[in-house]
């Protein structure tokens, strides 16, 4: 039974909270089950909505999307708007196009529908969904980052930023510039000087 140690931990560990010490499963007083520990470690609380309230979201190009409130509040931005009472009719999202908004909603739906991240099958399923979700062209990927940032959806932001980071890994500066269409604003002399003064290890 080979365990893939790498994939197991990607989204589960928040760098801010590694709350408590590993608890012995045999310890009588503090016997947390594995799923309890997993839930404790999970860094975004999933609220279980009893009401079937729906929220209407309006994209920048005027298209409307009706979603369950449970799905909509994956976005902290939308959650705060609802709490502040600005969500009577519909919530306008001027920074998000319909194309991107529909993808974001697809992501949130999938993640809300899979609460028991501890069960093996569900976990693998979610992981492969995430992997396929980011197989888009670069411009869409960057738009997703902007949307996740604006809508404040931490897991989507983590996923998309990690994808871009993986694209950067192992590339030379020129390759990175080419991939992301970034203009090199260093003059050759500036670059030379900076490289000379800041020679790090591993170069």
């Amino acid at each position: 039974m080979l365990k893939n140690l790498n994939s197991k931990h990607i989204q589960r560990f928040s760098y801010k909270y590694l709350p408590q010490f590993p608890i012995s499963p045999n310890s009588p007083k503090l016997g947390f089950s594995r799923s309890q520990i997993a839930n404790y470690r999970s860094n975004f609380p999933t609220t279980i909505m009893s009401s079937s309230k729906t929220i209407v979201l309006r994209s920048s190009d005027g298209e409307t999307f009706e979603v369950d409130e449970a799905v909509a509040v994956e976005s902290q931005t939308i959650k705060h708007m609802i709490e502040d009472g600005c969500a009577d009719t519909s919530i306008p999202l001027p920074n998000v196009t319909s194309k991107i908004l529909s993808k974001v909603i697809e992501y949130c739906k999938k993640h809300v529908e899979t609460p028991n991240a501890d069960e093996k099958v569900a976990e693998e399923d979610l992981k492969s969904f995430d992997a396929d979700f980011v197989k888009v062209d670069q411009s869409t990927l960057f738009d997703l980052i902007l949307a996740a940032n604006y809508l404040n959806i931490k897991s989507l932001l983590d996923l998309t930023c990690q994808t871009v980071a993986d694209m950067i890994k192992g590339k030379t500066p020129e390759e990175i510039r080419k991939t992301f269409n970034i203009k090199n604003d260093f003059t050759p002399e500036e670059e030379e000087e900076v490289r000379r003064e800041n020679a790090w290890a591993f170069e």
Partner: protein
């Protein structure tokens, strides 16, 4: 007649070619527009760059000026530090290419196997403005390469900083290390082996190496302190502290007479204090110095610490990993100095663990690494409750007890 058709044919051809070229150019333009990535705000770029390993950060620095600025900024460096996993830093003797005295004076003493090799001693001479020709010829027998070992995913990898030094690594915290400047007795150097920023430290009290202990710690208010404990001939333990950046050491009251009998174990920095295990075997207590007020206390251990037990920092708590009588290891935790007693949180009872010496807990996973007496490393995974042997790549350095220091790779500088 034939000529005219030829000409019109060629004109037609020209027109066709021009048409197809225009089409091509238009397509490229469209493609460029589609490919052109939208502008990302700085915090998004930061969020992406923070996930890169340090080698990739090095390359990313030179992509453009905004990226350079982000990577240089103190908040980025601090966040990067908080995501850095522990590694083991150690010295490995530089392999000699041939007998040094056979070579002529020029090539014999330059061991630049890699043009980017950084020599601590050369940098020190540079700082002291000693001209290269006046630098003493160094016997390369005593040169060490600074390397580090990464334990991850069941594998152990050794990597090189491409730096050499001749003295010992005395202490490490937050990616900074204190190294001997071996060519000047008692002189110490603080450096970050990744960024290669280096600085000399003022001379403190000089003592023979086996009777002293160093620790580098970070202060609550920011900045770093170097703590030096030593024992003189009358068995009196002296202690001095240097705030990095200041020009002289400060003497402070050491622990009570007779409290610490042995300086062999590296002090542990946890829960806002430094902790020493005072004896090589059968320690009943640990000696603790709180960083802020620099006062010494004695904390009783929950049970006697033997030669293969260790205290260490884990998940922001102080932890005591001890072998029980039967083939078991129990883990005790002290959450803070104000806590009355240690809590027994875990018992490991798998595998043959009698000779295993605890190394460290990983920061972001629930794993504890052990060192066996033959140099092999084992990893206990708290989730799987499995003790697994870590595989080494060919030619990997085998750790010997006491020859490594716990370290993290970071871009931190001691200057606030």
């Amino acid at each position: 007649m034939g000529e005219k058709t030829c000409k019109s044919m060629s004109l037609l051809k020209l027109a066709e070619e021009r048409e197809s070229m225009k089409k091509k150019l238009d397509e490229e333009k469209q493609k460029q527009q589609l490919d052109s990535v939208p502008y990302l705000p700085k915090d998004c770029v930061s969020n992406i760059l923070i996930r890169l390993p340090i080698e990739s950060l090095q390359q990313s620095r030179f992509v453009c000026k905004p990226w350079y600025g982000i990577i240089k900024s103190p908040t980025f460096i601090r966040d990067n530090l908080h995501r850095a996993e522990k590694v083991l830093i150690f010295l490995s003797p530089v392999k000699r290419l041939s007998r040094w005295w056979d070579q002529d004076s020029d090539s014999g003493f330059r061991f630049q196997e890699n043009p980017n090799t950084f020599s601590v001693e050369s940098k020190v001479f540079e700082l002291k403005s000693v001209h290269m020709l006046l630098q003493p010829l160094v016997n390369p027998t005593f040169k060490y390469a600074i390397k580090f070992m990464v334990l991850e995913d069941g594998k152990s990898t050794t990597r090189d900083y491409n730096a050499t030094c001749m003295g010992r690594i005395r202490a490490s915290v937050d990616g900074l290390i204190v190294v001997d400047n071996a060519l000047e007795k008692g002189e110490l150097v603080i450096m970050n082996p990744v960024t290669r920023k280096l600085n000399l430290l003022p001379l403190g009290t000089l003592y023979p190496p086996h009777d002293e202990s160093f620790a580098l710690v970070c202060c609550n208010a920011g900045g770093y302190k170097l703590v030096h404990m030593f024992r003189d001939e009358s068995q009196f333990i002296g202690c001095e502290v240097l705030k990095i950046g200041e020009k002289s050491w400060r003497d402070i009251d050491g622990p009570s007479f007779g409290l610490i009998k042995w300086f062999g174990y590296d002090p542990v920095f946890a829960i806002g204090a430094l902790h020493w295990v005072p004896e090589i075997d059968h320690s009943e207590y640990i000696v603790t110095m709180t960083i802020d007020d620099e006062k010494f206390h004695k904390i009783m251990l929950p049970k006697t610490s033997r030669f293969n037990d260790r205290i260490m920092e884990a998940y922001e708590r102080l932890c005591f990993v001890t072998h029980e009588e039967v083939n078991e290891i129990s883990i005790w935790v002290l959450g803070s100095l104000s806590e009355e007693a240690w809590t027994n949180t875990y018992t490991i009872a798998v595998g043959c663990i009698r000779d295993l010496i605890p190394l460290y807990f990983t920061r972001f996973k629930w794993e504890l690494y052990f060192l066996d007496k033959d140099g092999s490393v084992f990893c206990f995974d708290f989730e799987d409750q499995h003790m697994k042997k870590v595989t080494t790549t060919k030619g990997c350095f085998k750790l010997a007890n006491g020859e490594y220091t716990l370290h993290v790779n970071s871009l931190v500088s001691w200057q606030t």
